[in-house]
C-alpha cells in the first residue's frame, strides 16, 4: 500500500511538471495554432540559467527570477525572429521552424553551459516528509504548488482581465479580433512570453529533484505534448489534468514495470489517444473551414 502511494507521489510530482509544459503548449497553440516543439527547451533554459546565476553568486530566489525573465525574453525573441516572418506558412514549415529553433537553443546551451549535469539546492531542504509510510520531498510540494498556482493565475487572467480575453478572442478568430481593435501581434508576443516563462518556472522548480543538462528539453517537449493531447489540444483544464494523469502513469510504469521504460508511457499515451479519442478528454470536435 505504502509502495503504491510512493509511486503515486512521485508520479504527481513529475505530472505537475508535465502539466506546466502542457499549459505552455496550450497558450501558444491557442494564440497562433503553432505547435511549439521548442517548449521543452524553455524548461531546460529555466534550470540552466538558474544554475549559472546561482554559481555566479546570486541568491537562489534572484537566480530563479533572472532565469524566468531571461527565458521569457528569449521566447519573445524566438517569436519575433522565427514565427512572425513565417506567418501563413503551412503546418509542416512551422513544425520545421520550431524544431530548428529547439535544436539551435540546445546547441547554444551546450556551447555556453557545457555537457555536464547540473543542479542546485532544494528550496526548503532535503528532509523527506512522511505520509502514511511513503515519503515526499519538500521540493515536490513546491513543484505541485507551482503548477496549481500557474493554472489558477492563467484562469483568472483569461476570464477576468481584458487582456486575457483579447488573447482568447484572437485564438477564436484572428481577423475578427483585429477588426475590433485587438493588437494581435502584441497578443502573440505576450503568449510567447507567458509560455516561455511558465516553461522556465517548471525548469526552476524541478531541477533540484531531477537535475538538468543541455539535452533534457526534448523529453519534456514530448511529454508535455502527450499531456496536452491527452487532455485535449488547446484546453488549459485538459493540459492540467493530462499532465497529472501522464505523470501518474509514468510513476506506476517506473514502479511496477520497468524504470528503464518509464519514458515509453508518454509514447503509448500519444498512440492510445490518437487511436481511441483524437479529441482528448476535454477537447471539442473540430472541423476544417475551407
Amino acid at each position: 500500500m505504502s509502495e503504491l502511494l510512493q509511486f503515486l507521489l512521485s508520479g504527481v510530482t513529475v505530472g505537475a511538471v508535465y502539466a506546466l509544459v502542457a499549459l505552455g503548449f496550450t497558450i501558444i497553440y491557442n494564440a497562433s495554432d503553432v505547435v511549439n516543439f521548442a517548449q521543452g527547451e524553455f524548461v531546460m533554459l529555466g534550470g540552466m540559467i538558474t544554475v549559472a546565476a546561482y554559481a555566479a553568486g546570486a541568491p537562489l530566489p534572484l537566480a530563479a527570477l533572472v532565469a524566468i525573465v531571461v527565458t521569457a525574453a528569449l521566447g519573445v525573441a524566438m517569436n519575433k525572429l522565427t514565427i512572425e516572418p513565417a506567418r501563413g506558412a503551412p503546418v509542416v514549415s512551422l513544425v520545421i521552424i520550431t524544431i530548428g529553433a529547439s535544436i539551435f537553443i540546445r546547441g547554444a546551451a551546450q556551447l555556453i553551459f557545457g555537457k555536464q549535469i547540473h543542479t542546485y539546492p532544494a528550496f526548503s531542504g532535503d528532509d523527506p516528509i512522511r505520509i502514511l509510510g511513503a515519503t515526499i520531498l519538500p521540493q515536490s510540494l513546491w513543484v505541485i504548488a507551482g503548477s496549481v498556482a500557474v493554472f489558477i493565475g492563467l484562469w483568472l487572467f483569461f476570464t477576468r482581465t481584458l487582456l486575457g480575453r483579447a488573447v482568447l478572442a484572437t485564438s477564436n478568430n484572428r481577423l475578427a479580433a483585429q477588426l475590433v481593435g485587438i493588437n494581435t501581434t502584441f497578443v502573440m508576443t505576450l503568449s510567447f512570453a507567458l509560455s516561455a516563462g511558465i516553461g522556465a518556472l517548471a525548469g526552476v522548480l524541478v531541477t533540484p529533484i531531477t537535475m538538468t543538462s543541455y539535452d533534457v528539453g526534448l523529453a519534456f517537449a514530448l511529454k508535455g505534448f502527450a499531456a496536452a493531447m491527452l487532455g485535449g489540444m488547446g484546453n488549459p483544464k485538459g493540459a492540467l489534468v493530462g499532465g497529472f494523469l501522464l505523470g501518474l502513469l509514468e510513476g506506476l510504469t517506473a514502479g511496477y514495470i520497468s524504470s528503464q521504460y518509464k519514458d515509453a508511457a508518454a509514447f503509448i499515451v500519444i498512440l492510445a489517444v490518437l487511436f481511441f479519442l483524437p479529441q482528448g478528454l476535454f477537447g471539442r470536435k473540430s472541423t476544417d473551414r475551407v
Partner: protein, 316 residues
Amino acid sequence: MTPKNATLLALAILIALSPIFFPSSFYYRVGALIFVNALAVTGIVILTGWAGQISLGHAGFAGIGAYACALAPVHLGLHPALAVLLGALISAVLAWLVGRPILRLKGYYLAVASLGMGILISMVLNNERDLTRGPDGIDVPELGLRALLKDAGLDLSNGQFWYFFCGIVLILGAWLALNLRDSATGRALRALHGSEVAAKTVGMDVARLKLQAFVISAVYASISGSLLALQNKFITPDVAGFMHSVEMVTMAVLGGVGSVAGAIFGAAVLTLLPQVLTVFAEYEQLVLGLVMVLVMIFLREGVVPSILRKIRGRGE
C-alpha cells in the same frame, strides 16, 4: 530530355566521374556516406515534400534496418542481403501500424508520434543489452558481394566497392522515387499537399495516400540504415537517435524538400561539412537548427529548386 531523366543522368555521371578528382581513397568512404544519407533523405522528400507530412523519428527505421543486418544473420541464420529485406519489411509494417491511426489527423500529429516512436526504438536498442549489446554497439557480418565480384574478375578495394554499390542503390532509389512522382499516386500526393480539402472533394482517399508515403519513406530509411551498418561492419544505437532524424530532415530542407536532386545536394553538403570542418562537431546542433529556420523563412523551397528557378528565368 525530360527533367526526370536529366536528374538521373546527371547523378550517374557525377557518381561515375567524381573519383577522378579524389585526392585520397578516404573520399570513397565519404562518397558512400553521402549516398547512404541521400537515400534516406529521398524517402523524406516523398513523405514531406510530396505528402506534406513530417517525421521526427525516421532514424528509428534506419536503426531497424541497421540492427536487422547485425542480428538476423547471427540469430536467424539469414544471409545479410536477406536481412536488409527483413529490416525493410519490419520498418514498413511498423510504419503502417503507427501511421494508420495518425494520418487521418492533422499535420503535426505524425511529427509527435514519430518523435515518440523514434525515441522508443533507440531506447530499446540501448537497453536490451542481451540482444543488442547496448550503447557500445555491435559487429555486423560481411555482405560478401565484394568477394563474389573478385571471383568474377572485378577487384575493388573496400572503399571503392561501397562507393559504387551505394551509388547504384541511390540511383535506383532516385529512379523509383521519380517514377512514383509521375505516377497516379504521386500526382495525387502532390495534389493533396496543395489542398487537402480539394483532394478530398475529388474523391481521393487522403489518409491512405499519406500512409503509403509514410511506409515507402520508412523503407528508404531502413535500407539506408542497413547499408550504413554493412559498410561499417559495426553499428551503435546512435543510428536510431533523435539527432540522426533531425539530420535527415535538415538535409531535405536545405536542398529542397520537394526535389530529389535537392535531397542529394542537401545530403552531400551536410555530410561533407563535418569532414571538412573538424570543429563542426561542436557546433553541429547550432548549425542544423539555424539551417532549418533560415531556409524555411527565406528559401522555403530549398536551395536547389530556388537556383533552378533562377536559371530558368521564372523568377518571382
